[in-house]
Symmetry: C2
Subunit: 273 residues, 2 copies
């Protein structure tokens, strides 16, 4: 999917919601556990109930790997289900990979070719040659960690280096990498003021924003400081939507939660564009 | 496996060699491709030919994920084969994972419980709460990236921060994390003098050292500057050993290459202990 197609989907659906599919067998409705592939069945039900309200789904690979081969099968069935039934959805493999060049190429193959995701999240610590192999794929997107929403973000990401915080250096340096137009960035929502500074460095890049809702971030503030002329935001919500209920009515409750966020987004888009 | 058991294996085998199982179907002997699981058959043959010469095997997960479910099965069969036949071997899942707390817990489950590796490599960018879930596992080891051997290492890892390079800050900060005695570190071999500074910060921690041989690092220098009183080094070699030949004689050639490295290590150990 091209960035332009993603922008068109946002305009069409009046939503820039990304739903995180972090499926934990201890948290899903118990009646699903009797089925052969509870993780896939849960995802399928959530997708059926919410695909018109969001522009993106983001399975977190950890939650699939934890169940071994069975989990990897659930991941494959989930991405295939989305690609076959909702090709307009922007898919994100939340994998946070990154390794030396030939190894990153293998990861890129895994997520862009074998699984056919539109994008994958990567970590910046190993630098240019650990990320460029991902950037080489046309119409695929590489979403690099910049400033995350967890407590540990302040261990290294905000350390002063060359007179600026490390995450700003990461943003600036990455702009010079080959095919950097295929970069998006993870920026947590916990401190909305950071977005002002970030937008000075990357005015139009798409930002994947976790941490709205459950982790305390505020949608209005994130949009106020972080929205670009092309929207430029994908706001992720995982637990607040997919675990809105763990009863028989879980799809209905997930839909209700997604509608709430989508309506708020529609209002914001109306006021801005 | 405990650190003490690893040290005993090094003393017993007179080797601190780790063999990287980065299996690429385009590089293995072509006659293996006719078999049902060429990746596993290749690994099994390499393990059978070298297990008395090394103390560790390190499959790199990217090379398995690139082949989807089939690859994940090969990985599982490989780790099971090692654990069943050579339980004295220290196994490393070279996965370079790292995510927010509950997600890192899932990765830890994947590698420590589901696959039963002794250790896993992780990236430090997301800080304390992205690594501590791994450290919580008893007798399991978390090998964190500090200074890598690739070109991109100099993009961020060596930036000056708080008056010291970032990788040194990473080492120092991590010493304060809960169960930090379960930490080991990845330190590339490309600049052996770095080890002197690193040993001032972490005098006894085990270091996993890639980049000897193919990437230009020198074993003598690494040992001179990096060896601790408990050896404290695992030197990784992947391509130079496993791809020593891609003919029918590949196991024999791999063994010959492993013997060369092992003999050099034995000499070094003799001169030091």
């Amino acid at each position: 999917m091209t960035t332009q197609q993603l922008i068109e989907q946002i305009q069409l659906k009046k939503s820039f919601l990304c739903i995180g599919l972090d499926v934990d067998l201890t948290k899903i409705p118990q009646h699903l556990l009797e089925l052969e592939d509870p993780i896939f069945e849960f995802n399928k039900a959530i997708i059926d109930a919410t695909h018109d309200l969001c522009v993106s789904y983001k399975p977190n690979t950890a939650f699939y790997e934890a169940y071994g081969i069975k989990g990897w099968k659930s991941l494959q069935k989930t991405i295939n289900y989305i690609n076959e039934n909702h090709p307009e959805i922007f898919t994100i493999a939340d994998a946070k990979r990154g390794d030396i060049g030939n190894t990153s190429s293998m990861y890129a193959k895994a997520f862009f070719e074998d699984l056919n995701f539109d994008s994958v999240t990567v970590a910046p610590y190993m630098g240019k040659d650990s990320v460029e192999p991902f950037l080489a794929f046309e119409n695929k997107h590489t979403i690099m960690l910049a400033l995350t929403s967890n407590e540990g973000a302040f261990d290294f990401q905000t350390l002063e280096t060359n007179g600026k915080e490390l995450y700003k250096q990461v943003l600036e340096t990455s702009k010079g990498w080959k095919n950097s137009e295929n970069l998006m960035y993870v920026v947590g929502a916990t401190k909305a003021e950071y977005f002002t500074e970030i937008r000075k460095i990357i005015p139009t890049s798409f930002l994947l924003v976790p941490g709205v809702g459950a982790q305390g971030g505020n949608l209005q503030d994130v949009c106020k400081y972080g929205m670009s002329e092309n929207v430029g935001l994908l706001i992720n919500s995982s637990r607040a939507i997919i675990y809105a209920s763990n009863g028989e009515n879980f799809t209905q409750k997930a839909r209700e939660e997604a509608i709430k966020v989508k309506n708020e987004m529609e209002e914001i888009l109306k006021s801005r564009f």
